[in-house]
Subunit: 198 residues, 4 copies
């Protein structure tokens, strides 16, 4: 009251929307979407539930907005990939960039991996599926052997899952990521070679 202003209350100005997204994503990733209530989100932000409704029309919209904001890099990547020749180099680069994008938005993707059942019912389920199919179409040659198609998918899964596993074996996330990346690139490469006869 009076004074020059600073500190908690003031910093809040205008970025409540984003703070909601951050806190919500944190809780969604930690506990799951259904187990996270709006009350909990509001409490952690020290606002009322009604305040959330000023910024978002529904609970689902909070999630959708997070997804839209955080998945843009992946969208861009796919866009980029589409315009490249489907060469081995491109594929390898896609894998590398995809891995980087996953890391950037790690909580979101952890959430998506652990809440597939929920997501399937929600609108982002379709959005995500569409994106993944876009990726797949770049990586997978439609003429390829079924086994090689599986390899491509496996590469993708390896990236997705690799982030959260093996934490006891290797604690340095950088090294872990590198190893995961190597396996993924390897799988893609094998798949490509068989088909292209390269």
């Amino acid at each position: 009251m009076g004074g020059t202003m600073d500190g908690t209350k003031q910093r809040r100005r205008g970025n409540t929307r984003q703070r909601i997204q951050e806190v919500a994503l944190g809780l969604f990733a930690e506990q799951g979407y259904e187990k996270t209530s709006l009350r909990e989100i509001a409490e952690r932000l020290d606002v009322t539930k009604a305040a959330l409704y000023y910024h978002f029309r529904t609970k689902e919209e909070i999630l959708v907005s997070i997804f839209e904001d955080l998945s843009r890099p992946i969208e861009d990547l796919i866009e980029w990939g589409r315009r490249q020749p489907h060469s081995l180099e491109t594929k390898q680069e896609i894998i590398r960039r995809y891995s980087a994008a996953l890391m950037e938005a790690a909580p979101l993707f952890r959430f998506m991996q652990e809440n597939q059942a929920t997501i399937r019912e929600l609108s982002i389920g379709d959005m995500f599926k569409t994106k993944m199919l876009g990726l797949r179409d770049i990586l997978i040659d439609p003429d390829a052997d079924l086994v090689d198609q599986v390899r491509c998918v496996s590469a993708l899964f390896t990236l997705h899952a690799g982030m959260h596993v093996l934490q006891e074996v290797e604690s340095d996330p950088g090294k872990r990521r590198e190893a995961v990346l190597e396996v993924a690139v390897d799988l893609i490469t094998q798949a490509h070679r068989h088909t292209a006869g390269d």
Copy 2:
């Protein structure tokens, strides 16, 4: 069968517990654990909610009982694996048998994959984690390169995820499974060769 009467109501006798498990697993896999209410399960069985509570003490107990019953083959497999030499042949056989076990209890494992966030909070989360670590300890050589360790984990993930993907590319589940299996075995084999110098 035979005798004075049969039909729906009579056949029910004594197998309600199992019917609950079946229906519940179906719904859990389809909609997720939290989105499936006991009302829904009861309605589908044409009994009252209270009847469910005669057979199980909580909603969670229904899930736990399903898990315990259906995951026994995997437990047996791990037990078997532990007593074998950690040779390449053993590892390959483990992968093959594991794949078969996953298929046997496909709905359960689909459920587990799609509801990880839920499961993590529940008691079966720990049970499952323990089992997976048991499997990993058989497949992974502790001296192996980190990359090869990732390959082993990747093989496991490929099996898990492979069942539910690529349905548009190859509609025959048998062929799909074979392809998935080949990729997994391949990954395991690569990992083993590097380490064993075979």
Copy 3:
């Protein structure tokens, strides 16, 4: 199974009804009537809920039967008191015998004291009230001063409540009872003297 018989199962023969009453009273006194479920009673007896219904028609009937069985001495006491002259000696004797009767059926009376709200709604509420009025009519002279009437009621309450209090001050229940008895007799005596001018 065959043999001479002994031990738990055999001893049960024919006295299940009574065992139900005992266990039920124990739980009713400990936790209250409403918080004690038939499931709990059955579990403690290692029989099924349905077995309780072989012996009693309702939950309330269990309580009623306990009350009827255990409050008979008090009924007898009142009967006896009615036929005596309403002299001081009689009143003192009534108090003494009543105190003894309360001790005999301590759990029942503890239960009744701590569950008055419940009992009021149940049929034993009326039974009990009738009995207490009977007692009162013997102890209280209708011509007596209001204050002396209160003294008589107070004597009764002192007996009822005195059993469960002062446990920290005096751990010997015998001494406690004696002290309580002395106060009660004293109150009755005062009340009688004033009225009778004795």
Copy 4:
């Protein structure tokens, strides 16, 4: 009152919390705590059950809040008593004031007397016990004869119980209270005289 509108719906504003407490206490006292459901309370207030949960987190919290609000005078009394000399006059005054305090919050204390079993399990059980022990410590001389200690406790019980009894004998609550008070003061006085040799 003044302004454009009034009447039932408007008057409600802002005092719902208190109205819940009033209605709840009424029902708790009439029927007992367990037999009173939140549905009943809500219906009587013409709000939904959920509205109760906006104001109180649990059913128990409703009771606790009532207890805290209504038992403050007693707390104050004990505080006051602690600072006085433990003379006969103080003790008599305590009894008088305690009696007045009981009348002020009669429904609460009737409830507490008739639902002891319930209260024992709830958190207010301990709060109440602590208060009563505080009172006792003022009234009872630790060197006193056991019988005199009983007299003090008996005085307290007489006050508590006296309010609800003898309604058929004397219908004027004022006179009843006076008579009860006299007996209680008498008991305290006797106890004090013996010990102090006054």
